[in-house]
């Protein structure tokens, strides 16, 4: 109980959670504005022409309003919780891992200036939020890495599908040598093994909160690779930014 009290009462000398929150909110604000303008999620939820889905549109507007306030650093708890609720509404309408990820991470980030039950003597920037975020990010990497330890992923089958779709469906401008390599199951299988092991390693390093250079290198490598073979950009940028900001630079 003493150790728990000590942890919950510790002050984060840096303002890393506030910086992480503003970065995360700014990135997702850009996502939501573009999404609303181009009807991205709305179109992704149903390819055929249809009337705009009201729950998605309303959630996006709420998310944009909250995003602006979070970037401005105004009442982060209030607008953070509201944003989480709106994101879960969006996730209910269109099941996307990125939306669940946003909800979980923002729910922690919005406590960076304390809980609603804090008293004047409680820490202004509680350290437990930063540590909880690193445990959470570590869990996401370990969980997704372990779930990738399956026959389909390890054989390179999933990456084959993703990359062939980008080549044939979206005319992805891979250089010819790379396009040839991405048709080879042995190459894709090796990439898949490396990706799963890199994710699990990154997760463990995040739990250990060190070493900084390895954590950042792994995050950049994993997400650059993911962006280029899976067409996922905002999630990649969000993860790299959080890792860079939240992991301590030295012990």
């Amino acid at each position: 109980m003493t150790a728990l009290s000590k942890l919950l009462d510790a002050e984060d000398e840096s303002d890393s959670v506030r910086r992480a929150r503003r970065y995360f909110a700014g990135l997702w604000l850009a996502y939501d504005v573009v999404d609303l303008v181009v009807s991205g999620t709305d179109h992704a939820s149903a390819w055929l022409p249809h009337a705009r889905i009201p729950s998605i549109a309303v959630a996006q507007v709420v998310l944009i309003l909250c995003g602006v306030q979070l970037v401005r650093d105004r009442q982060p708890y209030l607008f953070g919780v509201l944003a989480v609720a709106a994101r879960l509404v969006e996730a209910y309408a269109f099941h996307l891992n990125d939306f669940y990820y946003y909800a979980v991470v923002m729910l922690l980030l919005c406590h960076g200036d304390g809980t609603p039950l804090d008293k004047p003597r409680d820490p202004k920037h509680p350290l437990w939020v930063r540590w909880a975020l690193l445990v959470e990010l570590g869990w996401i990497y370990v969980a997704t890495g372990v779930l990738k330890l399956n026959v389909t992923w390890l054989s390179g089958g999933h990456l084959f599908t993703r990359t062939q779709y980008l080549i044939h469906g979206l005319d992805w401008p891979y250089p010819q040598w790379l396009a040839n390599a991405l048709a080879e199951r042995s190459v894709l299988g090796a990439m898949s093994w490396m990706a799963a092991l890199a994710e699990i390693s990154l997760g463990v390093c995040l739990w250990a909160r060190r070493p900084y250079w390895l954590v950042v290198t792994l995050a950049v490598a994993i997400h650059t690779f993911a962006a280029l073979v899976t067409n996922v950009w905002f999630f990649s940028a969000a993860m790299i930014g959080l890792v860079v900001i939240l992991v301590p630079r030295r012990h």
């Binding site: 181009v38 990820y101 809980t115 039950l117 969980a143 399956n150 026959v151 389909t152 084959f160 469906g169």
Partner: protein, 130 residues
């Protein structure tokens, strides 16, 4: 225990419980390390780990949807990040056939190039229903 401590433990507990329950659901659905791939389960972080098909679909001559020419599946969408995809080949075919309602000429030929997690890449061609 103060209200603040209970609040923090409750918050962390809810997050942990939701994510552990998601992993248990994956196991219940048949996921095993080095065996069957996981399913889509919220909060389990199954991104890119599930079995999928992806198809590139074309209509020749192009469809006309809301006054716009649509020759390819990607035409109404965006190039980066947001992309309307189906999880399996059958779902693509259903939408491709229904989209024939927007054909501009008869006959209209649909071509589907589908990649699957088993490592196959297949072309399939059929005419829109009369």
């Amino acid at each position: 225990m103060t209200g603040r401590v209970a609040y923090i433990l409750g918050l962390v507990g809810v997050l942990a419980a939701a994510q552990l329950a998601a992993q248990m659901e994956q196991v219940a659905e048949g996921y095993r390390p080095f065996g069957q791939a996981p399913k889509r389960v919220a909060f389990s972080w199954d991104m890119f780990a599930v079995d999928i098909d992806r198809c590139a679909v074309t209509w020749d001559p192009p469809l006309v949807i809301d006054g716009r020419s649509v020759a390819r599946w990607r035409d109404p969408g965006t190039y980066l990040e947001w992309d309307a995809v189906m999880s399996n080949r059958e779902a693509y075919e259903v939408v491709a056939r229904v989209a024939c309602l927007y054909r501009s000429q008869r006959p209209t030929t649909v071509t589907m190039t589908c990649a699957s997690s088993d490592g196959t890449l297949k072309d399939e061609r059929f005419d829109c229903p009369k």
